[in-house]
């Protein structure tokens, strides 16, 4: 086999997807498949780190040390999820700086749900139950996504999300069973987060721009409407146990369909928030840019320390914790900025 033709490669790719095999970073893949993945994984990664903001808003005001420790752990997990996903996006040949730059300049989006404010402590519970619940419904099928690194990141994320959802549910339950004022606070939070959570599944199937192709590529396994219905069906009985109502007068069990019917979603609101006109769009991106800028000195100091440390080792090579000098040397040689992600994927496109 001397040369691999473009046709051979396309055939091999299609066959791998059809056979439910995973596509790995160094495999050939169509440019559009790569671009779709970069867009989706980047948006997902951005959502994780922007999602730290609405909840971090309540860390200093958590009602007990227990709730505070839980919330810190959850927000830290969101940072971790962002990192898993940025790593997955990088295997497609797109650098971390480029992704962050596109987020900061508004050229890549994050989930519109995070443009809503967290007005009370109960919002933290409602986010855990509904927003993380919707995220899990979306993400569990992504564990079988055709792109290996994305699927593996999702497996890890889904394991951790389960704690997020349960802590939210427990917190809402405590409020719901508390004083009348606490109960009212929980109900108000659910009223505000219910509809935006349903919008998290994206536009209806007949208006979803990328759905059909993504499903053909097995990046996506179920349609937006299918996952939204699944989520509604899961939530209704959970709300009953909470002793809270969902703010939809049309919500009703449909015996024939075997599903709950629900009222129309306000897609005008969804599009407005997506366009940047939600309650917190400006605040979220400003805060993200500020955090990045204010962290610059830390990154610079770490890079300067690493450079100095490496130079000193090259000349003096002091007795170090690593006994094998060849390995130590390898690490130094590659620690410069040129050691990007390049060697593992030469076909970078965005």
């Amino acid at each position: 086999m001397a040369t691999v033709t473009a046709q051979d490669r396309t055939t091999a790719f299609d066959a791998a997807v059809a056979a439910d095999e995973r596509i790995e970073p160094r495999d050939w893949m169509p440019d559009a498949y790569r671009a779709t993945l970069v867009r989706q994984i980047a948006q997902h990664a951005h959502s994780e780190i922007i999602g730290m903001q609405p909840e971090a808003n309540w860390i200093t005001r958590a009602p007990s040390l227990r709730r505070k420790a839980i919330l810190i752990a959850k927000v830290q997990d969101e940072a971790g999820h962002g990192l898993y996903l940025y790593s997955a996006a990088e295997t497609l040949g797109t650098g971390r700086d480029e992704l962050l730059d596109k987020l900061h300049s508004g050229r890549q989006k994050y989930s519109s749900i995070f443009n809503y404010p967290t007005l009370t402590w109960a919002d933290v519970g409602a986010i855990g139950w509904l927003v993380d619940g919707a995220a899990i419904t979306n993400q569990v099928p992504l564990c079988r996504c055709s792109y290996g690194p994305y699927a593996r990141a999702m497996v890890r994320i889904c394991k951790e999300e389960s704690f997020h959802q349960r802590q939210g549910y427990e917190s809402l339950l405590a409020l719901s069973r508390g004083t009348p004022a606490q109960h009212a606070m929980a109900q108000d939070a659910v009223n505000r987060w219910w509809w935006p959570s349903l919008m998290m599944f994206g536009p209806p199937d007949d208006e979803s721009a990328h759905s059909a192709q993504s499903m053909a590529w097995k990046i996506k396994r179920h349609s937006n409407d299918e996952l939204r219905q699944r989520f509604v069906d899961i939530c209704v009985p959970q709300a009953e146990t909470l002793g809270l109502t969902l703010p939809d007068p049309e919500l009703k069990w449909n015996e024939d369909r075997g599903h709950y019917d629900f009222g129309p979603i306000d897609w005008t609101e969804f599009r407005e928030v997506l366009k940047g006109n939600g309650p917190c769009n400006e605040q979220r991106i400003t805060q993200r840019r500020r955090a990045h800028d204010e962290g610059a000195w830390v990154r610079e100091a770490a890079a300067a320390y690493a450079a100095k440390h490496n130079t000193a080792d090259d000349t003096a090579r002091p007795a170090h914790h690593t006994a094998r000098p060849t390995e130590q040397h390898t690490a130094q040689a590659t620690a410069g900025p040129a050691a990007d992600t390049a060697p593992l994927h030469g076909e970078a496109t965005a």
């Binding site: 050939w28 890890r156 770490a302 900025p337 040129a338 050691a339 060697p343």
Partner: protein, 96 residues
């Protein structure tokens, strides 16, 4: 943007418990090996997933080419006699 390039990439290997080998967990960016280890601890072992960590510069890894995977691994393909199931042993023979 203050910095123009990413920190180097490191591959992270985690030993989940003594007696098992280190397994690839993922990758991360860090300016040097010590920071890579600390970041790996925070990123990949938040729930007691590991008792030991390795971080390896990604550039130090040499990988086989996916384009050659058929020819590269083909030599093992026609040697079923390397597997114990290749051999027929009469019923009732024990400890074999």
């Amino acid at each position: 943007m203050t910095e123009s390039t990413d920190w180097p990439l490191w591959e992270v290997f985690v030993r989940s418990r003594r007696g098992l080998s280190h397994t690839h967990a993922g990758s991360l960016h860090a300016p040097d090996a010590q920071m890579a280890l600390r970041n790996a601890r925070d990123l990949y072992t938040r729930r007691n997933e590991g008792v030991s960590l390795w971080v390896v510069p990604s550039t130090a890894i040499t990988a086989s080419s996916p384009d050659e995977k058929d020819s590269f691994f083909e030599p093992a393909g026609d040697k079923p006699y390397r597997h114990p199931t290749f051999y027929e042993i009469p019923e009732g023979v024990k400890h074999l």
